[in-house]
Symmetry: C2
Subunit: 122 residues, 2 copies
């Protein structure tokens, strides 16, 4: 099972609006660093730093051809986050399901004689 410590750097990387916008842009297709920087009111160097954070934790990859660096999403980098979130939901939902089964059994006279010592309270 995936642990929080396996994904904390990726969550921190995604929990910043500029980097979130970059990921949304890249999920529509690869883009050069200049294309990625264009919509933002910040220095080119600042955008490069954000890209380095995203690449450092495996959420994007980049390739330099001549003088142009092109970035793309690394889908595999998202897998551990998806798994951690799925685990959190599943564990919590399973507990709710078990509680539901228990309540249903308590409500079912044939299966719960021991629990219902004094008859027909609904």
């Amino acid at each position: 099972m995936i642990k929080y410590s396996d994904i904390d750097d990726r969550l921190r990387a995604l929990a910043e609006p500029t980097r979130g916008a970059i990921i949304e842009r890249l999920s529509r297709g690869p883009a050069t660093v200049s294309e990625l920087a264009a919509p933002f009111d910040m220095s080119f160097a600042a955008v490069v730093q954000h890209l380095q954070v995203l690449e450092g934790c495996g959420l994007i990859q980049s390739e330099k051809l001549g003088r142009v660096r092109t970035c793309r999403i690394e889908p595999r980098g998202f897998a551990p986050i998806a798994e951690w979130i799925a685990d959190r939901r599943t564990l919590a939902e399973r507990r709710l399901d078990r509680l539901g089964v228990l309540l249903a059994e308590m409500d079912e006279p044939s299966q719960s004689k021991k629990l219902k010592s004094k008859g027909k309270k609904k």
Copy 2:
């Protein structure tokens, strides 16, 4: 499709180690505020603040019975994050698939005569 602005508060909430640990604890079952605070070397008030952040963005819910407040995971709160991440992966992977199909077609002589104007370069 889920937008980043729908989940940015939840990502920020999860991107903090104490809150991540609280979520991991709660996914194993409900707990009182005192139980949640016990493992942390911080004030009770600080833990309560973290819980308020998590509850404020719908990742947990809490209920007060007498003087005891019990917290539990709200699985539905995780759904939009899971969906956003799934969208990012799917869009990127679909592009990679389309690229694969295109490359396969280019490599298939019968379908790509127009692209191969000068013969057998591999």
